[in-house]
Subunit: 151 residues, 2 copies
Amino acid sequence: MIRYYWEDFTPGWSYESGAAPMSAADIRRFAQEYDPQSYHTDETAAKATPFGGLIASGWHTCAVAMRLMCDGYLLDSSCVGSPGLEELRWLAPVRPDDALRLRATVLEQTPSRTHRGRGTVKFRWDVLNQNDAVVCRMIGRQHYLRRIPAP
Amino acid sequence: MIRYYWEDFTPGWSYESGAAPMSAADIRRFAQEYDPQSYHTDETAAKATPFGGLIASGWHTCAVAMRLMCDGYLLDSSCVGSPGLEELRWLAPVRPDDALRLRATVLEQTPSRTHRGRGTVKFRWDVLNQNDAVVCRMIGRQHYLRRIPAP
């Protein structure tokens, strides 16, 4: 059932997902519930903003990246949560019919100081569009159970 | 229509929202779409995890915080987007029937170096539960139009 434990995420380990399409309807639906700024909800109003058209909420981009991570490796892992991110950058707008993919790269792998059965992994997660532009970058940590507890 | 421009977000400006309830159904619905780890989607499976029960996806907490921000001041502002966060911490689990509120505090106010009509505001955003525990903390920036362009 569990394929990836803490030990597997050695520095340089990487994963790249397939592409998730973002439709205008998806963008509006997320935004109407969580981020109803006009450039996320209304294509006509969005044209008059500096963005020149509808763009996805940054939180929608993060949520889609999370789903790509889950389907890619997280649901097959021993992950037991995340303390957070030390960087989250929205680098370029996500527009209707963009297709997003996730690239995960391990930066550091640290045993827990307090739990023999756990460790932490620091990742860079880049979200790319169909033109290979990085639209979102996250640097953060996740906690994982170890396959074999530390001695 | 616009009540808050860049000039209004002086250091120390703060806002605290009312409370948004998080139901178990809300938690599961968000997670099924964006973060289907078992401790976010399945109350029975969640009991066997280190969390001891269902908890909200951290991205759900961020999305709810964004909605509280929108309703509190952002939709009445000249906000033209965010470059991102320099810190995002998930500090405590969010559980069913928690009620979350947002506390926003301005840390810095910086005129744009390139746009006379814009500026940037650095905020701390704390998400609190009904026991006043900070469950999530974000430090980041938003860009706003100025009421009066710089000379």
